[in-house]
């Protein structure tokens, strides 16, 4: 292993030993013995063995430090994926056993249903069609509306879709975590919240609350969550270590 003889900047910061703790950070026997209980002991042994294996690999001369360090597929990622898979399979079994979905009568194709709804993932677009109260009554037209509420809703869809279509052409910058760009993270959270609230607005007749309050909350809730996100991330930034990410990405230093 070559250290300190090259001044070439490395993605892990050059100094130190990357992902493996250096020898003087190896836990003492006393620290090892402190973890004596079941799962924490098991977890500790697992990580300690992984650390030890990596340390042994490092001692071999042909071990090259990659730009992006990673965990081995076996056992790390397989065990993790098995745990995640077990969780979701268990959740599916549990919910299907305790809350079996209601199977409705077969649809009668001869009758138009009273309430026509799109699939749930299109509720946001359906909700945008219900923005009639936002359609301004212009005094210059004698209190008349420039366009009908239906046209207004269709145009609102165009605005939202157009805005989303612009996103791939924006420079995504060097930030890789929300904490590094609190403002844009807040914009994203507000957008996600708006997608949810506008979906709820689209089925306002099914919501057990006042329709006018729901309409106001549709636009107020994204603002609140955006402000909350910005405040939380801005606070987190003070304790955030940019060096952590430098191991994986070349980062622009914060302003």
């Amino acid at each position: 292993m070559t250290e300190d003889d090259t001044q070439e900047p490395k993605t892990d910061g050059g100094g130190g030993t990357g992902i493996v703790a250096p020898d003087d950070e190896t836990p003492t026997w006393r620290q090892r013995k402190e973890r004596t209980q079941g799962l924490s002991r098991l977890t500790y042994e697992y990580f300690e063995r992984a650390r030890r294996e990596d340390e042994d690999l490092r001692r071999e001369s042909d071990y090259v430090e990659r730009d992006v360090l990673a965990f081995p597929t076996w056992p790390h990622e397989i065990v993790r994926n098995l745990a995640i898979t077990s969780f979701f399979v268990g959740m599916i079994l549990f919910l299907s056993a305790t809350l079996p979905p209601h199977i409705a009568n077969p649809a009668n194709t001869n009758v138009t249903p009273g309430i026509i709804l799109p699939d749930w993932y299109l509720y946001w677009s359906f909700g945008l069609l219900k923005l009639g109260p936002l359609n301004p009554e212009l005094s210059i037209l004698g209190g008349a509306k420039l366009m009908s509420d239906r046209t207004y809703g269709v145009l609102a869809n165009g605005v939202i879709v157009g805005f989303i279509a612009i996103v791939p052409f924006l420079n995504k910058g060097s930030a890789r975590r929300p904490v590094e760009q609190p403002f844009w993270a807040a914009v994203g959270v507000a957008g996600v919240t708006f997608a949810f609230t506008i979906s709820v607005l689209s089925v306002k007749n099914l919501m057990p609350m006042d329709v006018h309050l729901l309409f106001d909350l549709t636009f107020f809730a994204p603002f609140v969550t955006g402000c909350l996100t910005y405040a939380v991330l801005k606070t987190m930034r003070e304790g955030y270590m940019y060096d952590l990410n430098r191991r994986y990405y070349r980062l622009r230093p914060p302003k």
């Binding site: 919910l95 979905p101 209601h102 409705a104 007749n205 099914l206 919501m207 057990p208």
Partner: protein
């Protein structure tokens, strides 16, 4: 701090899942009605119904109070205690 967070999260999600199931049993007339999970429970006919309705309330308040305790109350007490020590 992370320990307190996961304790609150565990209580919130675990008890919330239990409440969801029991409210789906006893507080939902139909999954097409606008009042799901919040309708008044029926009068229990059997002992199991009574236990289920009671446990639903227990889970509901466990989820709320558990999250409140470990996310707000305990950190606030800790912060207050450490501030008192340092000054």
């Amino acid at each position: 701090m992370a320990d307190e967070f996961v304790k609150g999260l565990g209580l919130f999600t675990g008890a919330g899942l239990g409440w969801l199931v029991l409210a789906g049993w006893y507080r939902t007339e139909s999954f097409e009605s606008p009042r799901q999970l919040i309708a008044a429970p029926p009068d229990p006919e059997t002992l199991f119904d009574a236990i289920g309705i009671f446990l639903g309330d227990v889970f509901f308040w466990t989820a709320l109070l558990g999250a409140f305790t470990f996310w707000l109350l305990v950190p606030a007490i800790n912060q207050f205690a450490s501030r008192g020590q340092s000054s």
